[in-house]
Symmetry: C2
Subunit: 155 residues, 2 copies
DNA sequence: GTTTATTTGTTATATTGTAACATCTGGTAT
DNA sequence: ATACCAGATGTTACAATATAACAAATAAAC
């Protein structure tokens, strides 16, 4: 369970940060993209593309898969969200400006995901890839299990 | 590019190990499952489910998606293969008996995958999850980039 | 204001994965 | 031997995820 006292704050912060970055980079933060990002930030659990599509269709009756995937691409490219590959789902990024080296703790029970950006893991990975003479472009680290709250609950 | 002088040896070793484990655990290593494992070990690049289906249908005209996915489930459950989540593809495991803590180096260029089972990474992950009071069930670490051979080639 | 590039709409389809039930096969108990 | 049972495979149908290709709308740049 994520420690956010006020999830409204998570959302508004994420929206503001995205807005600022879009202004800086002269990207178009359209209504569609805003809606998508807000929907993804609905909680700390990842959202699935077709779930987002359903929600989108409430407002925008003509939304189609391509509508959703194009917005997702935009949000991914600019670091506003992550794709959780082990779940085929999408989750908001809480620090889009330094988006690298983000690792995920995925609770199988409450479904919430928290980012853990740990420099020790990063340097361990760097050491290993260097030893293997491997040139890294992208790292996916997804750790599934139970968060503290949920593992207490099930005891 | 993987350093295997003789890929026939990779295949035969993998088949023998699987056979031994199946005997020990009283699992049925059927012709279908053997064919599937051999096809996955066709090389060090990951194989996609529907690609395997096509190959399987050459021998077994009646093969269907379920045929393939059920075999894949068997091979996954018993540690003979890994699912590469970032690619939705499957690759043979070269040490099924100690199957945990396997990390992957995925070359975007030659597509080959090598396992890098590094205890430093494992302990860095353990330290981080402990600090976050997170109880790990399963870890996915997939590192994409270029292997040494390919990065030399493109220079 | 016209051109240009980007975004969105729209249709169609490709790819990946499961559910549910029928049939077969090989071992076990009688 | 044979009746039974469990696990494996066959079969049909479909669900879920994702992309391609082209048209229309919109915003930016000239």
């Amino acid at each position: 369970m994520i420690q956010c006292e006020d999830h409204g704050l998570c959302i508004s912060t994420a929206m503001e940060v995205a807005d600022r970055i879009c202004t800086e980079k002269r990207l178009k933060f359209t209504d569609l993209r805003k809606d998508m990002l807000r929907m993804i930030w609905d909680g700390h659990a990842p959202q699935k593309a077709y779930g987002l599509l359903s929600k989108l269709q409430v407002k925008n009756h003509s939304a189609k898969p391509a509508t959703v995937y194009r917005s997702l691409d935009f949000l991914l490219e600019n670091g506003f969200i992550h794709k959780v590959k082990s779940l085929n789902a999408f989750v908001g990024c809480s620090h889009p400006s330094k988006h690298d080296e983000c690792y995920f703790l995925i609770c199988d029970s409450c479904k919430e995901i928290s980012e853990c950006c740990d420099s020790n893991i990063t340097s361990a990975i760097k050491a290993t890839t260097k030893r293997n003479q491997f040139f890294v472009k992208n790292t996916t680290l997804e750790i599934a299990g139970h968060c503290n709250a949920c593992s207490k609950r099930t005891e």
